[in-house]
């Protein structure tokens, strides 16, 4: 079996990819996909720790994270649709009538 550090490294890389995607991608739908990637990286970390520690708490937390991710994606896509109806675009860079 692969040691704990391998799982942690993979999940850390996934997490960084997800975070970078949220910060730098301009398409709102891709941004939400990157958020899912971040949350899945978290799940992988939790499962790896849970297996390593022989403790179930982390696995329980994973279920909650998955539920929240689903709810967040549902609301997020609904908001993207509402925005698309107004603007005919899902490009974040073009969504800036509200200035800083």
């Amino acid at each position: 079996m692969a040691p704990l550090s391998h799982y942690l490294a993979v999940s850390a890389i996934l997490f960084v990819i997800g975070t970078a995607g949220v910060l730098f991608r301009r398409n709102a739908i891709i941004v939400f996909m990157c958020v899912e990637l971040m949350l899945n990286a978290v799940n992988l970390t939790l499962i790896a720790f849970s297996q390593f520690l022989g403790d179930q708490t982390g696995q329980i937390l994973v279920f909650f994270v998955m539920t929240v991710a689903a709810a967040e994606a549902a609301v997020g896509l609904a908001i993207v649709i509402a925005l698309f109806r107004n603007r005919q675009t899902v490009d974040i860079a073009k969504v800036n009538i509200l200035k800083w």
Binding site: D55, T57, I79, V95
Partner: protein, 563 residues
């Protein structure tokens, strides 16, 4: 683990059974809210006509009032000389905990999802009051009246949001912190985009959910690192493991602990809109319906501070200087506090839209409260609670005044506020009182909040008799002076400046007929007075509030936090 300390299964089962009955007693306000949420959805189905939809708002007011009363009953009066009692625990657990279990039983140590102590009761009351004011405000809102077909979902979402807000300051477990925070956030995303048919509304919701999803993702990654370091998700157990096991905070693990702490603070900092997680604030405050803005800026910020206090003070009870296992989070937070208040105030100076000014000023207020959080301990916590209680009235009040004016003149630009004093003296004077209170002028509630906050920041160090946070206090004072400029700019526009239209006509050589007066009904004025009176009363008679807040932290037992 020696076998003698492992209780046999039947006794564990008995304990859990006895305790879950016990813990549901503490869960009554949340049960009322959840029941109310379900009934509100049904109510929405059974009211057909758009006109009768506003009944769901009245229903939500009743539910919040009942939940508030139920949480008031959970208050445990402090009797001097009596031993300190822990609160009710909600969903205690013991079986899955992976820590070296030491002699005392699990139940006495507070390994539970949430706790009902006076601290959480204080926040529940605060949130109920804010929610009731916000719903009363919604009745007068033009934005909501135009969308009255969807009022049922509006009020049920607010009740649902309150469940999360109630649980946030009560959480004792990272799982509960995450769930309650997300409950608040997801309801908040929908409410922020309630006017989704306008460009501003949809854009506000998108910005809110993007920053929200990012910061909650960072936060839960931090939580997973905490879990990996300590093997538990309970914040009290985390503290004990950090104290008992030096391996968790030495060597490379020290840096991992720092990363985990900072990532966890990102999610909470986003809720209280601290720099640099504030980007959503101005856009959401401008794009969301005004009552929602008021509610987010008060209730969600209050619950965020409750969560932060619980997390920081429970996991890292004292600074590095005294206790071995913790980080020097106080200096990091102090820098964050200064940056937050300075940025909020400087950015507010540049705005021309009143709502955006208030959004940046709410960032600055978060900075002030973070300054008290730096001090931690009893003084800082009392100061934050007093500040939040006073902040509730002035912030909801000022947004209410902005909403009333926007209903009539259809604008929130500072130039359109010129000469409003002659047109609507009541709302203009009320607005000035709220703005003065936000600045912290004496005889208003805002002064009391600032006073206790500065007193807490300027507490001398017990050992060295020096003032460790003098520079922070200076920062708060300088920032309060800066804030005076933009608050009074709004007041001056209403009281001293003449409308632009009149000036233009005069230059053309014509005499301008005065702009028509703006009339408001009795209920609207009554609510305005209901917000002004507490501000003026708390400005002179604040002892009950101070006693109330001090009673909360007595139960916290700061010298020796344990459950």
């Amino acid at each position: 683990m020696p076998p003698s300390s492992v209780p046999d299964l039947s006794s564990v089962a008995r304990l859990v059974q006895a305790y879950s009955a016990y813990s549901l007693n503490g869960f009554v306000p949340e049960v009322i809210l959840v029941g109310g949420f379900l009934i509100a959805i049904l109510l929405d189905v059974f009211t057909r006509r758009a006109k009768s939809k506003s009944i769901s708002i009245y229903f939500a007011i009743v539910v919040l009032a009942m939940a508030g009363i139920a949480s008031a009953f959970q208050w445990q009066p402090f009797v001097a000389g009596q031993p300190w009692k822990p609160g009710h625990l909600i969903f205690p657990y013991s079986q899955t905990l992976f820590i070296p279990m030491v002699h005392e039983s699990v139940l006495e140590r507070g390994y539970a999802m949430a706790v009902v102590d006076n601290f959480s009761v204080f926040f529940k009351l605060l949130i109920s009051v804010a929610g009731i004011f916000m719903l009363l405000m919604s009745l007068a809102s033009q934005e909501l009246r135009e969308r009255s077909r969807r009022l049922g979902e509006y009020s049920s979402l607010i009740i649902g949001m309150c469940v999360g807000l109630y649980l946030m300051p009560a959480s004792l477990d990272l799982t509960m912190m995450y769930i309650s925070l997300e409950l608040v956030s997801i309801a908040g995303y929908i409410l922020a985009g309630f006017s989704r048919d306008t460009e501003h509304g949809a854009e506000a919701a998108l910005k809110y959910i993007m920053f929200g999803a990012l910061s909650s993702g960072l936060m839960i990654y931090g939580f997973s690192l905490f879990y990996g370091l300590t093997g538990t998700t309970n914040i009290i157990a985390i503290r004990e493991v950090l104290a008992l096991n030096p391996a968790t905070h030495t060597g490379a693990n020290f840096y991992i602990l720092w990363i985990a702490t900072i990532l966890a603070l990102v999610g909470m900092g986003y809720k209280i809109s601290a720099v640099p997680f504030h980007f959503w604030t101005p856009d959401v405050y401008e794009g969301a319906p005004t009552p929602v803005t008021a509610f987010l800026s008060v209730a969600s910020k209050a619950a965020g501070f409750g969560l932060l206090i619980r997390f920081l003070i429970f996991v890292f009870p004292e600074g590095t200087k005294t206790a071995a296992p913790v980080l020097d989070w106080q200096t990091a937070l102090a820098i964050g506090s200064i940056v937050t208040m300075t940025f909020g105030n400087l950015a507010a100076l540049l705005q021309t839209n009143v709502r955006r000014i208030l959004a940046y000023s709410s960032i600055a207020h978060a900075g002030y409260m973070m300054a008290a959080l730096v001090v931690g301990k009893a003084d800082g916590t009392v100061a934050i609670m007093i500040y939040l209680a006073t902040y509730l009235f002035m912030q909801i009040g000022v947004f209410y005044a902005v909403m009333l004016i926007a209903n009539k003149i259809g604008s929130e630009e500072i130039d359109d506020y010129r000469g409003l004093m002659t047109r609507t003296p009541l709302v203009s004077s009320a607005m000035v009182i709220f703005l003065l209170s936000l600045t912290g002028i004496p005889l208003t509630a805002g002064f009391i909040g600032k006073f206790y906050l500065l007193a807490a920041v300027l507490t001398p160090d017990a050992a060295t008799h020096s003032l460790p946070w003098l520079w922070l206090a200076v920062g708060v004072i300088v920032n309060s002076v800066i804030s005076l400029y933009y608050y009074l700019r709004v007041a001056a526009a209403m009281f001293l400046k003449r409308p632009l239209r009149d000036m233009a006509l005069e230059r053309a050589g014509q005499t301008a007929p005065p702009l028509p007066a703006i009339q408001f009904g009795v209920p609207v004025s009554a609510l305005l007075l209901a917000l002004i009176v507490p501000i003026l009363v708390l400005g002179v008679y604040f002892q009950p509030l101070v006693d109330f807040a001090s009673g909360v932290v007595r139960f916290f037992n700061f010298d020796n936090i344990r459950y």
